[in-house]
């Protein structure tokens, strides 16, 4: 079970990353602090820790891993009903959603790509485990016919419903954000109090999550499969080959992602059971052996 102090810390992390700057007066922070009966001292400790390690928003190049861990902790807290207020839970879920969407790679070329319409539905609540690979099969199963997507977008009264419009289908852009704001009781962005365009304090970060790059590769391959499905009669063998391609992931990128998580959970020099459990879960999900884990621990301590 995640300790309340760590939940508040995690909320602060993603709220600050969402806003792009450290702002201890955000309403969501106060709401979570009150909900968890935490003192100002607890909040101050979390704030100091974040100030110490966040740097200019880059978290020493581990921003995505830090955010992922924070999201996992918040999700675990929600699952364990440590946050009882539904309005706060909704706000946090939205915040997680948007944060995850923002982490997805932006690719301007998709604006002219009709297959951009096959990106994840922004209404879904992404599972953070999807950030760590092996979701190729699931994503393939979730291919949504263009008509369905168009209808859905129409229903939601999106101004531009062209399937070639990035504004209609890209994840994490401002219109989608606004749309999410409208249909929720508590608006995470109101709670945050607006946000800057960048995630770091000094301009746009050039850091890219290796797993995001991995996702790029998977997406590219998915596009090929989808073209086959739409444009011709399925050839089973060919399709199988393409499916196999989809599941091919780069071990080194997965290991790198896991290494970043490991660095992150030990960034405060102390590991606790929830962090250990998180890493154990990720090892299973990513099929990382305990031997590999131990090698990474050794390497981390040698650095």
């Amino acid at each position: 079970m995640v300790e309340p102090e760590r939940i508040l810390h995690s909320v602060m992390v993603i709220a600050f990353e969402r806003k792009g700057v450290i702002d201890q007066d955000l309403k969501i922070i106060k709401a979570v602090q009150d909900e968890l009966n935490l003192t100002d001292e607890d909040k101050f400790d979390a704030l100091e820790h974040i100030k110490k390690f966040r740097g200019n928003g880059d978290w020493s190049g581990k921003r995505d891993a830090v955010v992922s861990v924070a999201i996992d902790r918040i999700e675990e807290a929600i699952e364990d009903n440590l946050i009882e207020s539904s309005s706060i839970t909704n706000a946090l879920t939205k915040l997680i959603n948007v944060t995850l969407n923002e982490q997805k790679p932006r690719n301007n070329s998709t604006s002219n790509d009709p297959l951009a319409a096959f990106e994840d539905d922004e209404e879904e609540i992404p599972d953070t485990s999807l950030k760590f690979g092996f979701e190729g099969e699931e994503e393939e199963e979730e291919v949504i016919p263009v008509e369905l997507i168009e209808t859905k977008e129409d229903d939601e009264d999106i101004e531009n419903n062209s399937i070639v419009s990035q504004e209609a289908f890209s994840l994490g852009d401002s219109e989608v954000d606004d749309e999410e704001v409208d249909d929720e009781e508590v608006d995470p962005f109101d709670l945050i109090g607006g946000r800057n365009n960048t995630n770091s304090g000094n301009g746009e970060s050039t850091y890219r999550d290796p797993l995001d790059e991995l996702m790029d590769e998977v997406d590219d391959e998915e596009l090929q499969v989808e073209t086959i499905e739409l444009g011709s009669v399925d050839d089973e063998e060919e399709s199988d080959t393409e499916s196999e391609k989809e599941t091919v992931t780069s071990d080194s990128q997965i290991i790198e992602m896991y290494r970043m998580m490991l660095d992150t959970v030990w960034v405060d020099d102390i590991i606790d059971p929830s962090e250990v459990a998180l890493l154990a879960r990720k090892r299973k999900e990513l099929d990382i052996s305990f031997e590999t884990h131990m090698e990474l621990v050794r390497e981390m301590l040698e650095d």
């Binding site: 250990v276 305990f290 301590l301």
Partner: protein, 151 residues
């Protein structure tokens, strides 16, 4: 914090000299622990540098008496069926208290001397979740228990 082999050397050289009997007991302990030669070399080098170089007094190796008694207890612990589960339990308890890098390194180095570092790691990283609790730990594990602040 002293590890098992370091403590054995300390006892053997307690009066500034090591007897032949003391040396034989050290070899017996080495074998019982399954201590890797390279690791032993490291420990002995450090011991010589940090302890023996500073010493001026020379005795007759009388430490071998206490050494024998202590080593017999250690060897008995090494043969205990509870050794692995106790180490795993200590690893697991350490995490519940919040394990620092420093203590992790100590735990790993301490248990590596008798080839149980992987057991400690499994306890820490929840690879083999053991729910067994122990009232008391084997004396070979007491330095580890003390270092992890369970007492």
């Amino acid at each position: 914090m002293k590890t098992i082999f370091w403590t054995a050397l300390d006892l053997a050289w307690s009066d500034g000299s090591m007897s032949k009997k003391g040396a034989l007991i050290i070899e017996k302990l080495h074998d019982a622990m399954g201590l890797k030669s390279s690791l032993r070399e490291e420990i002995e080098d450090s011991f010589a540098r940090m302890v023996l170089e500073e010493r001026t007094e020379r005795g007759e190796g009388t430490g071998d008496v206490e050494l024998k008694s202590w080593v017999d207890g250690i060897i008995s612990d090494l043969e205990s069926e509870e050794l692995e589960s106790q180490i795993m339990c200590l690893g697991s308890k350490a995490v519940k208290k919040g394990l620092s890098k420093e203590k992790w390194i100590f735990g790993i180095n301490f248990t590596e001397e008798f080839n149980q570092s992987n057991t400690f790691a499994e306890g820490v990283w929840m690879e083999n979740d053991s729910n067994i609790e122990f009232e008391e730990y084997l004396s070979i594990l007491q330095p580890l228990e003390n270092e992890l602040n369970f007492k």
